[in-house]
Symmetry: C2
């Protein structure tokens, strides 16, 4: 008889364990006052190809980006503000493939994508293929806050942004010598039917910036902004403006911003997949992001990485490439890294 | 001592049960030779607002669509062919908001979106905001098969389609009196600052067509095609071209095509969410689609529905609106329905 009682109890544990998809929003005393994590793209970023000056410039830029978001969060500001302003800074930097530093398309234009999501209500906004918006992430936020839509593309997105007071610039603003030269090298190598070594231009394929923040109220926001892929054709949209691929946020699980070979991130809904594994599989953020990035994506041939945080402020910065510009800050803690081994 | 053996065994069952994310592709003897399921949009589709002629026309069109896909599958054709050709037929019909029957944007244009995904390798293709492609689903398939990209938008997508032999038509091809009059009624009601009753135009918000098929080889494909939302502005993209929102397919779990208030389907990654609940939560297709559509989405305020099938040919056609044009076929079985109660 006692055996059956034990079996019944254990089976009950099994059923309860497997069905635990509850989403508690209760305030957690362990949660830090704030947490912020950023990335500036993943790819073949090797120390041997970096000059000390370039290494230093990236670290300084990432530290400054983190400080901008941290100051907002420290003073009780919202995670949405922290994500937008941190990404705005990275969009202004020529170091990263977003905003000012956006790469060129095959036709020699700059076409940018961005998205942002608020974990409290899972509202989201995105713009795709915009050419004259100084800060695409701010346009994505305007879509979230000032329209009934989630995603707008091309001319329509630009028109909406302008009507809503988002800064418009002449497309020539995005022309930087570094990115222009990258395109010329690729076009030349295409003619020569040879492959350009990725090490010549670490942001060639995987340049993107992203930020995820957790504020004092426990609200998670995530945002991603990019110039896309150098030499891209046919108004290709990558994962950055796609909710569930490039960006995802849900207070109940986590916030994620992706960077990598966008097509794989779309097909495997990478940002959502990490949250889904937590939500339905009961896994931790660390287990989920490690599995998706270092096992599932690797098996499928998808290169890239993510930064993410959960509602307790746990941070993940997983990537399956040689390097990823990345860093996080929480009270009394600051980390900035570039290479795999450091 | 025996108690401990039992506890150990039961705990092992718990762990194995909770971690069962394995993806067996083994051929299942229970699987029917083929299965195909379609939808033609969900919304305020009430019997009282339908004439017998209109009711009959929709049922005939859905039966014909199913027969096209069924013939391909019966003869051992691929699920990709079945999905494309079935949707091609629905794109040619003025009854549905896709292709020829596409609704008008605020500016009086027709802007169409479509996506398709192959469950065997999870490759995917999508086009957004195209204006001169007769069969957007075929353009989406060309993106899948003939490019390294997943998603293309606007002019670039049109250019790519034309280069790849997809039929191009003059945008005036998509002008139908019914849809033009719908736009005029909405523009008039906007001026009068009143809301047009949805019952006047069942496809106003939720018109989309979709198809999911399982072929003899056990491969699942899913596709979705739409004219979007009547009176949409700013090159809005809905869920139909978004992998994970409007369309998803994975042989290991299921294939899904969505129709509904697209913004909610994007934010909650509805198509992927159903598959994720199966993959990580160990739920059946019926449990997952019922939970996502009738509980989660209802709680969030999102209206619409899905058609889906799993690798055993189980079919789900869940919707939380008054009706959804829907039907499925498998050997010896054919169902076509419109209203909730029938």
């Amino acid at each position: 008889m006692k055996y059956w009682i034990l079996i019944t109890i254990c089976c009950a544990i099994t059923i309860i364990g497997c069905n635990d998809t509850s989403k508690s929003n209760a305030i957690d005393e362990e949660r830090p006052d704030y947490t912020i994590v950023i990335h500036g793209g993943a790819g073949t970023i090797l120390k041997k190809n970096m000059t000390p000056e370039k290494d230093k410039a990236y670290r300084e830029a990432m530290n400054e980006a983190l400080s901008i978001g941290e100051a907002i969060l420290k003073s009780g500001g919202s995670s949405m503000d922290a994500v937008e302003k941190t990404i705005n800074f990275m969009e202004n930097s020529e170091l990263f493939n977003a905003g000012k530093g956006a790469v060129f398309t095959h036709k020699g234009k700059n076409e940018m994508d961005a998205s942002i999501m608020y974990g409290k209500d899972q509202n989201a906004g995105a713009v795709g293929g915009v050419t004259n918006i100084k800060h695409p992430i701010s346009a994505a936020r305007a879509v979230l806050e000032k329209s009934d839509h989630v995603m707008m593309a091309g001319k329509g997105a630009e028109e909406f942004a302008e009507i809503n007071g988002i800064e418009i610039v002449d497309p020539s603003y995005f022309r930087t010598e570094r990115r222009w030269n990258s395109l010329q090298r690729i076009l030349k190598s295409e003619k020569e039917e040879s492959e350009l070594s990725e090490s010549d231009d670490v942001d060639k394929k995987h340049g993107t910036v992203g930020c995820v923040a957790l504020d004092r109220d426990g609200n998670i926001s995530a945002g991603t902004s990019t110039g896309g892929m150098t030499n891209k054709k046919y108004n290709r949209l990558g994962d950055s403006p796609i909710i569930g691929a490039g960006t995802f946020a849900d207070n109940a699980t986590c916030g994620v911003s992706s960077t990598g070979h966008g097509e794989y991130f779309i097909r495997y809904t990478v940002a959502r997949d990490i949250a889904a594994m937590m939500e339905y599989g009961g896994k931790s953020l660390a287990e989920s992001s490690n599995y998706i990035i270092n096992e599932k994506l690797v098996e499928k041939g998808g290169t890239g990485g993510i930064v993410a945080l959960d509602r307790k402020g746990n941070v993940s910065m997983d990537f399956n490439t040689a390097g990823m510009y990345r860093g996080y800050a929480k009270p009394g803690e600051r980390v900035v890294k570039i290479y795999k081994e450091e």
